[in-house]
């Protein structure tokens, strides 16, 4: 009997020892939660926000790795110098993993304080997971009547992000202006012109169009931008009400096939499936290729890598000279569950100040969003603004405001890579996308897809 009792006691002691570590961390967690609740009450009042950075604090800020550029490092260092109590811990996450990882972190309520978002991301992750900005200093400085800002930033009429710019061009053909001048060529406005200029470059051993298809997000830019030239609001309404399928749009299938044929018919680099955005940066900066399909921010990236290289922009020459655009490229949002909402707001406000925001926007080639910026845009940027934005030759693309809220576009990008390896054609890819789109719509409760 005694032995039995001893054995039970030993077993219980072993068990208790094993669990001892689990309980120890519980207290500080409760403390933190209470502190967070107390701090969140301060929301809004400017003085209290200023006071928030009077205490030592670490803010976490997650962004896609490709967006963690030198300018952001420099700005964050400056902020930390000006406000030595605040440390900003950057979480630069590989682009391909960013959306999924953030969604998981937000769902598990373990998200960073600050997150780079855009309208689609917020919609996918849940707009109510982000702080609503009300009566912030920077809101009063926004340029009036920039309806792109409204479309890009607001979710259901509420502002949950400091958007990084006004209207943004999703993508087009970025061409080396000096190379075009050297060969006496004009930027192509039709596909026939595109093939003609490409043949000239090919004949001289220059890659006509660089393609970086290892990164899924870069593949989709061609068709997404092209669709701005033929997709109408009515088309999107029919698709989103399940009265029409994506595969029923022959122009879109054609755009996808055209995109693939550029690779397969030798107008691009042979290693397109192994090439990335970073390799494109090197190739374009070294002037080994004449054109690249990308957003205008790439121009600023190349200029940083090699100031002697000048790139120009022209719309995807698919059907007409209209640039694919989307309302705002990215913005700075605050996670609603953050324990440091006031401190995060302080950073957002500081970031929006002209001297900081100008530096950021010039580095990216963005367009101003605040009245007091006086942004001195470089020549190429002014030309793009005049040629497309000011003259209204822009139309929204497939990937942002036009698809159903909450749509996860990853599979759409992935299916486009299937075209490049010959698994499907444009029409087949869209039929696969229709299945995925319907499933997602059903899961998100869209009545027409139930």
């Amino acid at each position: 009997m005694f032995k039995k009792l001893m054995a039970i006691t030993v077993a219980m002691v072993m068990l208790a020892t094993l669990f001892a570590g689990c309980g120890a961390k519980e207290e500080p967690m409760n403390d933190t939660t209470e502190k967070a609740a107390a701090e969140t009450k301060n929301d809004g009042a400017k003085e209290e926000v200023e006071q928030a950075v009077a205490e030592e604090i670490t803010l976490t800020y997650a962004m896609p790795q490709s967006q963690y550029k030198d300018v952001m490092r420099s700005l964050i260092e400056r902020y930390q110098t000006e406000f030595p109590n605040v440390t900003i811990d950057i979480q630069a996450i590989p682009d391909a993993q960013f959306d999924d990882l953030m969604q998981t972190k937000l769902n598990l309520e373990e998200a960073p304080d600050l997150i780079t978002t855009d309208k689609r991301k917020r919609s996918n992750w849940g707009v109510d997971k982000f702080v609503v900005f009300e009566n912030e200093d920077w809101q009063a400085r926004l340029i009036d009547g920039v309806d792109e800002y409204e479309k890009g930033a607001k979710d259901g009429g509420e502002l949950r992000t400091l958007i990084f710019q006004g209207p943004a061009l999703e993508g087009g053909i970025l061409y080396n202006t000096k190379m075009f001048e050297k060969y006496g060529l004009e930027p192509p406005k039709t596909m026939d012109e595109f093939y003609a200029v490409s043949e000239v470059f090919k004949a001289d051993g220059i890659i006509p169009l660089y393609a970086s298809d290892k990164d899924l997000w870069t593949i989709q830019i061609f068709a997404a931008s092209a669709c701005a030239q033929f997709m109408t609001d009515e088309d999107y309404e029919l698709i989103n009400s399940n009265q029409m399928k994506w595969a029923d749009v022959p122009e879109l299938a054609d755009a996808l096939d055209t995109m693939a044929n550029l690779r397969l018919n030798g107008y691009t680099n042979e290693d397109f499936l192994a090439a990335t955005y970073d390799s494109a940066l090197g190739i374009m900066a070294e002037e080994k290729a004449a054109m690249y399909v990308m957003g205008t921010w790439f121009i600023a990236d190349v200029a940083n890598a090699n100031p002697d290289v000048e790139l120009g922009y022209t719309a995807i020459p698919f059907m007409e000279d209209v640039a694919g655009a989307f309302p705002g490229r990215g913005g700075l949002s605050i996670w609603k569950g953050s324990e440091n909402v006031d401190q995060a707001k302080h950073f957002v406000n500081w970031f929006s100040q002209p001297e900081n925001f100008n530096e950021f926007q010039l580095s990216w080639g963005f367009y101003p969003a605040f009245v007091d910026q006086n942004l001195q845009m470089p020549e190429w940027q002014t030309k793009v603004y005049d040629d497309y934005i000011a003259s209204g030759k822009i139309s929204y693309t497939i990937t942002n405001s036009n698809v159903l809220p909450g749509t996860i576009m990853g599979e759409y990008f992935s299916i486009q890579q299937e075209i490049l390896v010959g698994l499907v054609d444009g029409k087949g890819a869209l039929e696969k996308w229709d299945i995925e789109y319907a499933m997602q719509a059903k899961n998100t409760g869209v009545e027409a897809f139930q």
Binding site: A7, I8, A11, Q103, D271, G410, V421, L423, N443
Partner: protein
Amino acid sequence: MINTFKKVYPMYFVLPALILYVLFFVVPSATGMMYAFTDWNARDMHNWQFIGIENFKYIFSTPDLLKGLWNTLYFALFTVVFKNVIGLGLALLVNNDSFLGKYYSRGIFFLPNFLNMVVIGVIFISFLHPSGPLNLFLEAIGLGFLAQDWLNNIKFAMTTVATVEVWRKVGYHMIIYLAALKSIPAEYYNVAQIDGANAWHRFRYITIPLISQGLAINVILSIIGGLKVFDQVYVLTNGGPGNSTNVVLTFVGKMFGTGQWGIASAYNFVLTLIIFVLCLGVLYLLDKRGGLEE
């Protein structure tokens, strides 16, 4: 004997380990299986409902799962065969007294097993790049026609990923075979040699039967490892190009990452069933041949 064991080591001593096992393995596994029959998702994570076999209907209605299943089975079969054949070959080599570099070789062959898969991914993405060292080497020795875009050509991508896994794990399986080989008394070989048995006969009738337990362990471990393939694909191709190297667990990862947890659980459930059935079959076969006898 059994009674003495019970007296010296009372069964309550199992309790701590058992509770931990139940709490951290049995309960989560059972819960995961339960979620396979629900619509649990990120959008409404607290209000899930049982939906029967809807998730299974969905995953079997998409051709991608079948492709993922095929890729998983192909990867498992490829790695089981080559890990064991090469692993046994290397074990025989480094067990041979006449091989001078046997001690160094053991360490070198085992080394990749220590490397993190992400590190291996970075190394091999560069090594296998179209203009990387492998293709340059092939061109330098006049075999340029064999050069490929190893990770982006759909004909080769899955085999390339599986080959990297064989390279990584072969040393691990070599060690298990080596331990089994070391347990065979040298006298058996001496006697067989006196009786006129040649090298093949000694290998077939002495080595193979006496390392059967090591063989069983290696086969089971490599089957499970092969079917649970994820990180190798994730870091080398991320399922691409165009979903051509996706495996079941990359679908699970994708579904989990996009908040479709019910469907992700259903994928996992299917994979668990496959692993269970295959392992049961292999164990039965090995047991039938006496491979699991003590």
